[in-house]
Symmetry: C2
Subunit: 343 residues, 2 copies
């Protein structure tokens, strides 16, 4: 068994997730960012170079785009992979799968995002739910933002009270803030119009025994997703017991509408006031007033910052696969301390 | 018992609902629109006058606003009520209650909208659910747009299969199209953040025996509300049986995403192509692909055009209160034929 001391991490794709995972890796004391790939020059490349991040072209035919722009690169993806113990694939959804043979040929451990199918890695990861099962693995898929959020709250409820069934409605942000060609602008889109959405089966990849059905809608906002959870538990619980359960798990933040945090835009204003880089909120946010018990049947409303919630999970996946932390608790404590995120 | 032959209808408030109820009254063969009130001159007043509608000032102190603008009015609300058998209160939510003594003093039957509390009339109306109970009443409240939509689909399901319980998530349009000072613009707002929302109890004012819990969110769109219904029935049903149940009730329109009607904006585009005045869609719209049976537990997604769904209900309320149609079926058939709406 190899014990890794300072893990060399490569990031393939430097977009919404890639740039955040890069920043998070830079903050960890037990990891080194060896470089990131990009398909073409951009302001993000310039910013990365100015911060000392090494840039690689995503493929050989892309090299000339950087040369023409006078941007200094260190080689291509193949060169980058030679220097890495782990590659975090942050290419666009469904593109990541095409890189699987590339990563395998380079004999580098690989992490994919939730835009890829479970089968790409045969294992779907969430730090709080199944860290131990990821120990030493060659390939791992970190589940999507919505699934990550659901795993966090459902795991806490299931461990504490036992879940009989879960019914969730997801109101999804239509586009990320910079995606100025995506919609909807003025519409509510059942997405998919068929029931269930893929999120329930995806949660079951991590928590196979949970009876969950999900439905999803896209709405005209860019900031966060919102989930309404209707959960039947195995026993009667009070709202106090629910808050107590959540307080035992990391990366869950309870906010209160009566404190002025009554919407997703108010959550983001809160993150900005906290001084969060890019206004990121990697914690799952649960509205205090939304937690309601009718005995065994409970409700809660939670918000998911789609751009950042999976970032700490990627860091934990690196630690599990390289065994530099033996438990999820140990890894999450490190990740959260270095990233400056909390409960 | 008085038998009314041609009901004289006054409308107090000529805004979003008032102007639509006025148009609907003008189309009925058994009703006369005696006039409408307005608080001040506007383009809507000019349009109404050009179509021969008589305008009244909402109060004496408002008369001079019309005089100054050179707008010909026929008097004030008190004058209007003297000419009317029924007044439809279409003043803004919570304002209508202040007119109750005015209507009573004038000895005119009164209809309020869902923005007022149930107690204003002691009776909440939906044509398909409780027309007979409205026969001859002096005062009736037509339930709100969301409650009207829920009553239509739930009544059909309950009559056909028996409902054990209903869990609904409402995604509400943030503002009507012309409300340019209302939000949200880029936010999802739990509204209310507490659970349940008022819609469930409001449905129970019409259908008291239904076990229903509702939660609601405001989203940045102006076109329609969307409801996700999760219903437990008393027996196993197939999707075919559900469609068959809906086909037996009026004012329910099944649309299909595979025909290109996959969102609220697509529904409105459809209404525009149908040539609907103001692109109104008073029918409850249910997406075909969203109807899903898991045995006793079923799902469906429906859309509610907040500006128009209650309009035919107001017309039926007038007929019930004045007994010019003895059954809901008879009244709805007339209303829908005159208004040009269908299944």
């Amino acid at each position: 068994m190899v014990i890794w001391m300072n893990i060399r991490v490569a990031i393939n794709g430097y977009g919404t997730i890639g740039k955040r995972v890069a920043d998070a890796v830079l903050k960890q004391n037990d990891m080194t960012l060896v470089g990131v790939t990009k398909t073409k020059p951009s302001y993000e490349v310039d910013l990365a170079i100015s911060r000392g991040i090494r840039i690689y072209a995503s493929s050989v035919d892309r090299v000339k785009l950087f040369e023409e722009a006078g941007v200094q690169i260190c080689g291509t993806l193949d060169d980058l992979l030679k220097e890495a113990d782990v590659v975090v694939d942050c290419t666009p959804g469904k593109v990541g799968a095409s890189y699987k043979p590339v990563y395998e040929r380079a004999k580098v451990k690989a992490i994919w995002q939730g835009g890829e199918k479970h089968d790409i890695a045969g294992f779907s990861f969430n730090a709080v739910c199944n860290y131990k099962e990821a120990l030493g693995r060659e390939q791992v898929r970190v589940v999507s933002c919505n699934t990550t959020g659901l795993c966090r709250s459902l795991f806490a409820l299931d461990k504490s009270f036992g879940i009989r069934k879960v019914r969730v409605v997801l109101m999804r942000r239509g586009a990320d803030p910079a995606e100025d060609s995506k919609g909807p602008i003025n519409s509510i889109v059942p997405d998919p119009v068929t029931i269930p959405s893929h999120h329930g089966p995806d949660v079951q990849k991590v928590l196979p025994h949970i009876d969950i059905t999900t439905t999803a809608f896209a709405v005209p906002t860019t900031l966060m997703h919102v989930h309404l959870l209707n959960v039947e538990l195995n026993r009667d619980v009070t709202e106090g017991e629910i808050f107590s359960a959540f307080s035992q798990y990391p990366r869950i933040r309870i906010v209160s509408a009566s404190d002025g945090i009554g919407s997703t835009s108010a959550i983001i204003e809160y993150a900005r006031d906290l001084g969060r880089h890019r206004y990121d909120m990697p914690e799952l946010v649960i509205w205090k007033e939304s937690v309601k018990s009718f005995g065994k049947e409970i409700y809660l409303t939670q918000a998911v910052h789609q751009e950042s919630i999976v970032v700490p999970e990627n860091i934990d996946a690196i630690r599990a696969m390289t065994r530099i932390a033996k438990s999820g608790e140990e890894s999450m404590k490190l990740t959260d301390a270095y990233m400056g995120i909390g409960r």
